[in-house]
Subunit: 298 residues, 2 copies
DNA sequence: GACATCCATTCCAGCAGGTTATAGGTGCAG
DNA sequence: CTGCACCTATAACCTGCTGGAATGGATGTC
């Protein structure tokens, strides 16, 4: 008895939403298509999975059982998928490196070049991650190594080597009252609204709000963004200001946004991270050494 | 990224057979269809899974990785399927009872009737299993309880209550030189070819060959059968003789086959079995009690 | 040189799956 | 009561995937 995982995903969406109409939006198909998919799954199993009513779709007992176990099928498939892709990269001599916007900046090129010298025949595949994914895909095995800003959530489960540190500056809309200053004291910004990363990034978000360096003063959030582009827009449009590494002034220059040095906040660190499973993976370790050599030349 | 489990099954078949042509026979599709399925999986993943050659299909590195993990996806799905069906039966008040051909015989009807009295509203679904499946589906969760001949392989992982015992007789082709005898000594049959159960049924097969009661005398196998019908045919056609419970003489009477009492072999036991997980399942336990009450009336 | 044995390709028929539009209940507000 | 909002189910239609049979092409064998 065979299923398409799509049927399971649709089923779970309906089960969670309790409504075909809403689930249809979530999985990006029309409502009649979902009706058919659910019915198809039901005929395949020979089991009624939902009680239909005008109010929506409610799981039956057997439906609950399936809703409990179907996610395992999906994760088993995702695992298989990931492992296959990892093996593929290995065979194709591709090292996947995740990075957050503005992580290593100019150092990145040097690191990649150094790695190319050390491992001729290997290619690096750089993959930029959204801020909602502060381990840049390392936690899920989507990349082999990552260049990150420290600290980040989930750091304890990974290996991390700090590479260098960089002062934090502040990004302001050019119309801001303080935009004219050469240098700004952080305490003068405590009451300003900030553009923040999504809440689920935890300590990483707090770091960029300098939550620990406000002497208990509360943070005002003016906007939440997931990507550099949105972030720049939010600042330019005056929704708030944001701390940023100094290098952002070069890499994320943009009309309407100015960067100024800030006193009273600690610098930020860039690190390279990898999965413990790769502690003895020669290629990954070579990459890590390239990072260290580039950042702290001996 | 969604897959149909059929693709995974096909992929595994090709991986195991090392040949599209052979795998195609095994999964009952044409060879071109398999060619397409494999290619489809490869394009879906963006990974070459096989090295093609005139000799056949050899897994690549990533292919091996997928072959390692794909079975987990399939078993996860089978688990989900089973759990859903189990819940379905529960909701529909159906108790599935597996039995081997000739297990409880006339007692079966009484047991079912007693259960119907004890649990009005519940239905029993009797499911006859092939001899290649001596736990009658209990080991795989396909049934809730089973009426079996003891001992059977895998018995230790299940709960078993013996119900009654019955002398073993011998089934002979009516043309057999001993068919005329009223009673036969088992030692006179040591050199006869026997019709046996498949080899993978282990101790169950041995029990019906009375392997332990031949004083070391080797067993001759005349035929291997999986089902009562084949078994009767094999005996009637003279491929061999076979031990059988006495009640088989009534339930499996057939021209060309005669049953005779045998001296020198121990009786056979019938038992009811259930999964340890159902030790406190009220309905399963009710069924077990019905079995015990019917077999050993107090 | 004929043959066997692989996998790949082509062509065709059938159906599964999607979409839009619409029907058919039911609760709620005016 | 009526119109509306919100469900799910159905109808009609179209596209493209999928599988089967036949065939091709490469290669090793007798």
């Amino acid at each position: 008895m065979d299923v398409d995982t799509r049927l399971l995903r649709s089923f779970l969406a309906v089960a969670e939403e309790g409504s075909l109409t809403r689930a249809a939006e979530r999985v990006f198909v029309s409502q009649p298509a979902l009706t058919k998919q659910v019915r198809q799954l039901e005929t395949l199993l020979g089991v009624r999975l939902f009680d239909r009513s005008r109010a929506g779709m409610a799981l039956t007992g057997p439906g609950r059982e399936l809703a409990r176990l179907a996610p395992r099928v999906l994760t088993a498939w995702e695992d298989a998928l990931r492992a296959t892709h990892t093996a593929q990269r290995q065979a194709a001599r591709v090292l996947r490196v995740g990075f957050l916007a503005s992580a290593a900046n100019e150092a990145t090129q040097e690191i990649v070049a150094a790695f190319a010298r050390r491992r001729p025949g290997w290619r690096t595949e750089l993959r930029q991650a959204a801020w909602s994914n502060p381990s840049a895909g390392l936690a899920t095995g989507d990349v082999d190594a990552a260049l990150l800003r420290l600290p980040f959530p989930g750091q304890d489960a990974l290996r991390v080597e700090p590479l260098f540190s960089e002062p934090r500056w502040i990004a302001l809309p050019s119309t801001h009252r303080l935009a004219a200053c050469d240098t700004i004291a952080f305490r003068d910004l405590w009451d300003e609204p900030f553009v923040a990363a999504p809440a689920d990034t935890g300590s990483w978000r707090d770091h960029w709000l300098a939550a620990d360096e406000r002497e208990g003063h509360p943070v005002r959030i003016g906007a939440v963004t997931e990507q550099p582009d949105d972030w720049l827009n939010a600042i330019a449009n005056g929704y708030g200001i944001a701390l940023a590494p100094r290098s952002a002034a070069r890499f994320y220059a943009r009309p309407g946004v100015v960067y100024r040095p800030v006193t009273g906040v600690s610098p930020t660190q860039v690190g390279v991270a990898w999965a413990p499973a790769d502690d003895h993976h020669p290629v990954v370790q070579d990459f890590v050494h390239c990072c260290l050599d580039t950042a702290r030349p001996t």
